[in-house]
Assembly symmetry: C2
Homo-oligomer: 239 residues x 2
């Protein structure tokens, strides 16, 4: 079986409920599946694993999918090995990746997902699907022994991608500048996913979904904009 | 001799030149000194060490202070040991800290500065003066073996501190939320320094300078605002 991924920039867009804007795509990803394993490690705002799982459970209940939290299992690796599908929610990317390694889930997740188990991520959960977490927007609130992520796709992702505000007087770096700095030290492509955007990977194809274009950064090139109808399959050939 | 530090939020405020808004405080820090060692490791926008040093050299020339770049020396440790004063400029905090460790400068810097050598930092250079770089805004574009920083002060700093924009529809975390998440995993105080703000540390006292108040975050407390005239010496007693 081939890869089946849904990588969502943000779980909640302005004015819509949790996962609401992605409903059709989530249903399409989950076709024929009745359960999903939720990994709540990123703990947005420091929320507990149980409370975060309850939030995901409520959203999936309306679609007839049952949710269990990985922390509810005695053996997290086995939970991944036996899951029908997996969802990693947003929060802090460093806390998330540190816990994926601490619980020895990186390899088992990679193996199952590369064999076709449906995977969805939002925000930090989308970030860790890339080569490294080197393009996260989050603060490094805990240390991680490596920034290498699940590497389900051969490029990096910047979720919550934000265009510069021309009226701003703030001197902090723009997202474009930060990603250009990234490319002084790393060569993989980066895709900036605006809020409301998603990537749908099906085998050898990747499609941009949602209302916005996405910004693609290649090392030593000017940033490029791609619309949802454009062919962006070259991203899967990145080395 | 006692500590003598100037920690600047941003090198350049909107509408002023490089270091211009901090001129009086830089002169006060440098009183009686004729030279400063510049550490250009943070490479803003990927600029070279030489070009970055030239920029610092130009600014200090008008104040009669000569600048050498640490990369110009064969022995960087010796350069620190013999410097009259040190300035670490802004850019990417991860690249900066990685290079401080790679060049074995963390201990020599700490030792000299704790004995009274004047130190100034801007942005990333201010960040690394704190306990850890866990409250940087920068992207983790290179890995660092530890987030422990120079620890010249016993708290963390968030430079370029930014208040939430009430008109924003962006769902990414606010600075307050990010720092609250930091305090789920770390207990040291964090001070958010708005652009134009500076901290001046002289022995056992710390003063907030510049036109703005600063936002102080203590673990499990509501954030507090302090004006430049307020007593914030409790920050130096943090453990």
């Amino acid at each position: 079986m081939s890869k089946n991924l849904l990588l969502i920039s943000t779980s909640t867009t302005h004015g819509t409920g949790y996962l609401e804007h992605a409903e059709e795509e989530v249903k399409s990803l989950m076709e024929g599946k009745k359960s999903i394993l939720f990994i709540p490690y990123a703990r947005p705002g420091g929320i507990s694993h149980s409370d975060y799982t309850a939030k995901a459970r409520e959203a999936f209940a309306q679609w007839g999918v049952s949710v269990t939290g990985v922390h509810e299992y005695e053996n997290a690796v086995q939970a991944v090995q036996e899951a029908e599908s997996v969802f990693i929610g947003g929060g802090n990317t460093f806390v998330l990746l540190r816990n994926l390694y601490a619980n020895k889930l990186v390899e088992p997740l990679r193996e199952r997902i590369n064999k076709g188990m449906p995977y969805m991520g939002t925000s930090a959960g989308t970030n860790v699907a890339g080569r490294t977490i080197g393009t996260t927007n989050d603060m490094p609130i805990v240390h991680v022994k490596t920034f290498d992520a699940l590497q389900l796709v051969p490029f990096n992702i910047n979720p919550h991608f934000l265009d510069p505000d021309p009226s701003s007087t703030h001197m902090g770096e723009t997202r474009d500048t930060r990603i250009a700095e990234f490319h002084h030290h790393n060569r993989q492509p980066v895709i900036g996913l605006r809020e409301g955007s998603m990537l749908r990977i099906n085998g050898d194809t990747v499609r941009l979904l949602g209302p916005h274009s996405a910004r693609v950064f290649l090392q030593s090139k000017k940033p490029m904009e791609f619309k949802p109808s454009d062919d962006i399959n070259f991203l899967l050939d990145a080395y």
